[in-house]
């Protein structure tokens, strides 16, 4: 552990929760599930005022807007020991891409590097940094897990959610075919190239249903909304949730894209 690039972990780490736009707007329960997991693991959690990390602008080629938003994020989060997001995509934006936004500005580059070093996706933070091996939750039944691309390839999130899920009482994990293949979301891609996105998510929905687990989980709300929307459109009866909800044992809210009435059934 002595080789870690940052100072020893504080006794009670102060974590800045980067809620992410989609969780903030669409599914705040995921954010509260993340808070519970972090607090259970001994962290102090704060959620500073925030908007967006700038990824939509970044991927649309608008570097100027991206930089503006990145500076706000850096300022909002620089005081915390760690920054944690319930999203591999948004954490990846900070970790993998913020530094290269400021290649020509050493001052901001240093700040971006500092933020990148202490930013984590939720499950990888719990497992890799805090050493959490089990969570206090139960869930009745089988789930299948989709590996969201940014988390998987930019942040190497693969085993961490699975290790934590294995500790959930009553839960069995069934792997789907091609769990590491993109769901076709891709942010604005889903709207700009909806025909292609539709075809990719169709294949994903099929693989999900064929895994024969009643629930599919993932770590990114964008992918989850895409998969949930396709599963319901195609009449494939699979419930969709963010992995944090299950790990925190907070599954009272209806699944993504389902009404309260559906959930009761």
């Amino acid at each position: 552990m002595s080789a870690m690039p940052f100072p020893a972990r504080p006794e009670k780490p102060r974590v800045g929760l980067f809620v992410t736009c989609l969780v903030d707007l669409m599914r705040p329960s995921v954010g509260f599930a993340a808070v519970k997991l972090l607090e259970d693991a001994g962290c102090t959690v704060e959620a500073p005022v925030q908007t967006c990390c700038g990824q939509p602008a970044y991927n649309s080629g608008d570097r100027g807007t991206t930089r503006d938003l990145a500076m706000r994020m850096i300022e909002a989060f620089q005081g915390y020991d760690y920054v944690v997001a319930p999203s591999g995509s948004c954490a990846g934006m900070i970790k993998a891409h913020y530094p290269e936004l400021f290649e020509e500005d050493p001052n901001w580059r240093a700040k971006a590097d500092a933020l990148a070093t202490k930013t984590y996706e939720l499950t990888s933070f719990l497992v890799d940094v805090l050493g959490v091996t089990k969570v206090d939750a139960s869930f009745n039944g089988a789930v299948t897990y989709h590996d969201s691309c940014s988390g998987l390839r930019e942040l190497k999130v693969k085993t961490q959610p699975r290790r934590l899920l294995a500790s959930v009482e009553g839960l069995t994990l069934v792997e789907m075919k091609d769990s590491d293949v993109c769901c076709g979301f891709g942010g604005t891609f889903a709207v700009k190239y909806s025909d292609i996105s539709g075809a990719i998510v169709e294949a994903k929905a099929k693989n999900i249903e064929e895994a024969q687990a009643p629930t599919v989980l993932a770590g990114d709300l964008g992918c989850l909304m895409n998969m949930a929307g396709k599963l319901s459109r195609d009449g494939r009866p699979v419930q969709v949730r963010h992995v944090a909800e299950v790990l925190a044992g907070m599954t009272d809210e209806p699944p993504i894209g389902a009404a309260k009435a559906d959930a009761i059934k």
């Binding site: 669409m26 599914r27 908007t51 190239y193 996105s197 990719i200 949930a228 929307g229 309260k260």
Partner: protein, 477 residues
Amino acid sequence: MTVHSTSPQFKQNAARALNDDQLQKALGNVKQGFIDKRQMAADKLPEFEALRDSARDIKNHTLEHLDLYLEAYEEKVKASGGHVHFARDAAEARDIILSICRETGAKTVTKGKSMISEEIGINHHLEANGITPVETDLGEYIIQLRGELPSHIIAPAVHLNATQVEEDFRRVHTHLDAKRDLSEPVQLLTEARAVLRERFLAADVGITGANFLVAETGTSIIVTNEGNGDLTQILPKTHIVLASIEKLVPTLEDVSQLLRVLARSATGQELSVYTTFSTGPRRSTDADGPENYHVVILDNGRSSMLGTAFEEMLRCIRCGACMNHCPVYHAVGGHAYGWVYPGPMGAVLTPSLIGVDKAGHLPNASTFCGRCESVCPVRIPLPKLMRHWREREFERHLTPATVRSGLQLWGFFAKRPALYRFATRAAMGALALAGRQRGRFAWLPMAKGWTKYRDFPAPQGETFQQRWTRERKGARA
């Protein structure tokens, strides 16, 4: 200008491809075979990741010293009795090749598989000048019969099934018994072998590409599984190598590093069946081989990529792994990309070669899933380079107006947290109320692209920040 591009119609091309049942069935073959085979080959070689680093470093080193390696290479080719020609663009390359063919008095020309020959449209040019080009790679032969471009850089006919090939063979090979059985792929192969064997023996000139050019020895290298490239280059009187400037590598040791990752990444083989190193024309001690050996070195816009972000693209060794692993390629196939190079490598290279104004869709039609980069043997950061193209489009105001104005509106709010919270709170509240019954929307006015194929899940109502403030910070907001 090179071969005609339909890249501006990418969306229409893609829509057509998605509705083509036959194509969709054929694309299933890409998803199945290549991916598992590559993974198995990589797993069998503990040094595979280290070799990828080595391959990347060799290419980077060569590109940084490209002028000097080109000079060294040229000198060596001359010393071995060969000729080197430089072509700035497609038209020049076509003219050089045509004049060599004319000097030889060529009537037919056999061709090994070469993507650059597609890039410069050499077949059409030769035909227009009374010379018959014959593609000899089985896949290339099939698409030549159909008048198509390759849909994949190493499996040019991957978009077709055996029945279509049978139809083409019956249509073209009219000298054969009309009642012959062609129901099995092996029968198609046997027929092509026999037909092309005669063409090989009759050809006056053979044109091949090159996977690599070696500066140390003046050697051109081709890699094939069929052996067609070899018959193309050893049987005719004249061998023409058509290669672009970035094919250079310094030494035989360097090329051995690259060969260790090429076949494994492409087909999952340890090595392709035939790796052929050619240096100059036949010697006095030879009993066969070409009497004349020409190398045409093509730039066609590549030298301008050096020293820019796109220099990294020049590391590409054309293995096809990026497209084999691309969900967008899997969905629409290679022809939708509308020009010579499909998939992620095409999405980066095509705008460099024909202009981002024409090929702008290609770098945008990506989910940035990153699977291409994760398998690239020379570690080209393909998503990053596609993003660079998007940035250039944005700077040049080529980004569609709807996207621009959408971004502007979103950016306006995102930069004003208080306003953002106010607006999102109101919007999510309203949306949640409207979607309360079903928990989702089958149609939304601003998201038609989304709701055409899937429902839009309704938000929970209160935003996180709203609830957080209420619960944790007291009822300030």
